[in-house]
């Protein structure tokens, strides 16, 4: 197990390096630091001096990959790539355009983000799996048919509408919860309950349909017929056998959801004014703050890879046949 973990961690390094190189290429090869300086300072009335000063202040006045003017290791380390990208591996993300330390921002914002994303994810998964199991239980009936129709309709609605209508109905008309804002500790509940609920509802359509297909596929297998043949009730078959055996595909599907979770939170946080990573990213995009976007891409891929590893580990919990030797 330990050896497997180490191997997976070692495998993550080249991927993160690839992500790093890719974003670096996106940000610095397509556009030169001069372009970025002009962008930040305003395209008109910009002097070469101002550009040079902007670049020097932020460390963009060095060569991209190789610094011939330096000696020894500094040939490689005194470059933009090393300063801006390679140092992300040790958690040094540099400073945003407004001068604030990005790493500290991330550390304070990861709390609210988790407080929103985790309940959305867990509650969503529970609701989806139970409804999908119910539909699989009543398969072929009218309830099943209309359930699937409802799912298709629900997945045809843009998540923006769920948020806009939800916020309008529950906050503005019914005044049940505040429209936006955030508080620390337990008082965060009243700010989080609506975004979590909307996040769960917005994801229901497509995932219920997906899990229903998964369960139906499992039900068609031989062992289920055997279980029925020996006289087990349909409920026992579903919960004891089908659900257990469908765990691996469910867990695999969960990983697919993790990056979407990020996207969902992005919208949710900016609509509900939750000071998390998502709203930070949107603000950075609107302010065209490249350092922050780059840092968020890095964090995002780290989370994704961590999610992949967690999934692999959870396989061993649900299926003892899976071993990592």
């Amino acid at each position: 197990m330990f050896a497997y973990l180490v191997r997976r961690l070692a495998y993550a390094v080249p991927i993160l390096l690839g992500v790093n190189l890719l974003t670096f290429a996106l940000f610095f090869v397509v556009n030169t630091p001069d372009d970025m300086a002009r962008m930040q300072l305003g395209v008109k009335r910009v002097t070469p001096d101002a550009i040079a000063k902007w670049k020097a202040e932020r460390g963009y006045d060095k060569p991209l990959f190789f610094n011939g003017a330096e000696e020894g290791c500094a040939k490689l380390t005194d470059t933009i790539f090393f300063a801006k990208s390679a140092r992300m591996f040790v958690g040094d993300f540099g400073a945003a355009e407004d001068g604030r330390d990005i790493a500290r921002e991330i550390a304070t914002r990861i709390g609210p983000s988790t407080a929103l994303a985790l309940p959305t994810f867990v509650v969503g998964l529970l609701v989806t799996v139970s409804v999908a199991l119910l539909l699989a239980f009543v398969r072929g009936t009218r309830l099943d048919f209309w359930g699937v129709v409802a799912c298709v309709a629900a997945m045809s609605v843009s998540s923006l509408f769920y948020i806009i209508f939800g916020q309008w109905l529950f906050s503005k008309v019914l005044r049940l919860v505040p429209i936006s804002g955030y508080a620390d500790g337990l008082s965060a509940f009243k700010f989080l309950v609506l975004p979590v609920a909307i996040g769960v509802v917005a994801g229901l359509g497509s995932s219920i349909r997906w899990y229903r297909t998964l369960f139906l596929e499992e039900i068609g297998k031989d062992y289920v017929r055997t279980a029925r043949a020996k006289g087990l009730s349909e409920g026992t078959v579903l919960f004891r056998h089908v659900l257990k055996n469908a765990m691996i595909p469910i867990l695999t599907g969960v990983v697919v959801v993790i990056p979407q979770l990020f996207l969902g939170s992005l919208l949710m946080e900016s609509f509900f004014g939750i000071p998390g990573l998502g709203s930070y990213t949107i603000d950075a995009i609107n302010a065209q703050d490249f350092s922050v976007v780059r840092a968020m891409v890095f964090i995002g891929s780290v989370l994704y890879i961590a999610g992949l590893m967690l999934t692999d580990l959870s396989y061993t919990l649900v299926d003892p046949r899976v071993r990592f030797d």
């Binding site: 996106l26 962008m39 045809s156 923006l160 968020m296």
Partner: protein, 477 residues
């Protein structure tokens, strides 16, 4: 010439795609398994109803993709000049809606403005009331009943819609029975014997004409009513700057289609080529391609898109000399967005095709071809590609609705289409603040919701029908 044709890049790509779809249809006709699968799609009622609706949306989008510049009124002894504004065929057809702007918000079918205004009457007394609209209900003279006018227009519209439906469906049925082979069930239906036969008892296993005709009837009725009302009112009201909302939703259709279709044009070659190559060749090629898509996959999509779009914006902003008109600039940005979306979303298809190619390459006929010394490229083209086509087609139709939905989200986040491009995303974005107004301005949001829902729902239902017909696993059940 009274107009000068303008070919925007996205128009060219969209028409090219339409050509490719026609080519796909021809290929499908010749290949028996594909033809059989498409026949199955044709038998599905929901699938065909959805396809009918999608066709109507596609026609709207294509009409919006023929651009031109109008000839300006001739000035004496000067060469003919064309206007700067790039219009489309749809703009021309909807010139009434496009030009009849109001000052600001007005409710659907309203005759007075939504906001009170202080006006000085003819007697010199100032009073606050709702000023009449410039165009909404302007045909009503004082004393005319608004309700009667709306009712009459509605009835005329419904009647015209029914007539239109009768004409279209007769032509459709007539041409389809002529084209059908003898022995085909549809050939036995005489069009003049009416729609009754088809509606009441469709021959089993035949094309779902009943669904097509019913959907067409609904569309014709709605379109007829909307058109009749739109000639005198703003059916869906107007937005903040007084632009007709119906016009905006119709224009949004093209943006959604471009995003959904052009993106797949980018995705397909990348996904097919890299996916098949990884599966078939294996070894270091497989490793390299797998590494590439793991890297791309591990970046949350929206962030990768955001980063790419930010970069593109810098390029566009630093090179204003590339674009002659604002339309060209917005158009290029739309295309660039499609390319970025395509480059970030080929990974799913590639992974599916890799798995399938891994399986296929072990099959006897491929091994036989290898033993005969057939070149690898020929094997890929002749043996692997035709056998993964069903996956490609399923992915193609499944991705469309997701892309339309993501356009709205991206435009909302500010990394989507150009703010001057009318799209569902920009409409929702503009409408967002209107919900906070008192009283609420709800119509642009509801109109955008309804049209987008219809488009995406149709795409989803059609995708379902295609998947059911093409997926061997599902059709076996």
């Amino acid at each position: 010439m009274p107009f000068q044709p303008v070919l925007l890049w996205s128009d060219a790509v969209l028409w090219l795609l339409t050509g490719l779809l026609v080519a796909l249809a021809v290929v499908s006709r010749r290949s028996p398994p594909l033809a059989a699968a498409w026949r199955k799609v044709g038998q599905s009622r929901t699938g065909m109803a959805a396809a009918t609706l999608l066709t109507v949306f596609a026609l709207v989008g294509l009409a919006d993709s023929l651009h031109y510049r109008q000839l300006l009124p001739a000035a004496p002894d000067k060469p003919a000049a064309y206007g700067v504004e790039v219009l489309s065929l749809l703009d021309g057809a909807l010139s009434g809606l496009r030009n009849h702007g109001e000052k600001t918000y007005s409710a659907p079918l309203a005759t007075v403005s939504y906001a009170m205004e202080t006006r000085t009457g003819s007697d010199g007394v100032q009073q606050r009331d709702f000023p009449p609209l410039r165009f909404g209900g302007a045909q009503l003279s004082p004393g005319d009943s608004w309700a009667a006018d709306v009712a009459v227009r509605g009835i005329v519209g419904v009647a015209a819609g029914t007539l239109l439906w009768w004409l279209i469906s007769t032509v459709l049925l007539w041409s389809s029975t002529r084209g059908a082979a003898s022995g085909d069930t549809i050939a036995q239906i005489k069009p003049w014997r009416g729609f009754q036969a088809i509606m009441l008892k469709r021959p089993p296993g035949s094309f779902a004409w009943d669904a097509v005709l019913v959907t067409l009837l609904l569309i014709c009725l709605i379109a007829g009513k909307l058109a009749a009302l739109a000639s005198g009112y703003h059916v869906f009201g107007t937005d903040k700057v007084g632009q007709d909302v119906l016009y905006q939703v119709l224009k949004s259709v093209r943006t959604a289609l471009v995003i959904g279709l052009v993106t797949t044009l980018v995705t397909l070659p990348l996904g097919i080529l890299l996916g098949i190559a990884a599966g078939y060749f294996g070894g270091w090629i497989d490793d390299a391609i797998q590494y590439l898509y793991t890297v791309l996959n591990s970046i949350p999509g929206v962030l990768l898109i955001a980063a790419a779009v930010l970069m593109m914006q810098v390029v566009i902003d630093t090179h204003p000399e590339w674009f002659a008109t604002a339309a060209e600039r917005a158009d290029l940005r739309l295309l660039a967005l499609c390319f970025i979306l395509g480059f970030t979303s080929w990974t799913g298809l590639a992974r599916l095709l890799r798995g399938e190619a891994l399986k296929l390459r072990e099959l006897d006929y491929v091994q036989a071809a290898q033993a005969f010394g057939v070149a690898p490229f020929t094997i890929l083209l002749r043996h692997i590609l035709p056998n993964v086509m069903h996956i490609v087609i399923i992915t193609l139709v499944m991705d469309f609705s997701g892309l339309v939905l993501s356009e709205a989200v991206l435009s909302y986040v500010g990394i989507g289409v150009d703010p001057t491009t009318i799209s569902f995303g920009t409409m929702i974005n503009n409408a967002r603040m209107e919900l906070a107004r008192e009283p609420v301005v709800w119509w642009s949001l509801v109109a955008a919701f309804a049209f987008m829902f219809a488009l995406v729902l149709a795409a989803n239902l059609f995708a379902d029908a295609v998947q059911a017909a093409f997926d061997p696993r599902r059709s076996a059940q």
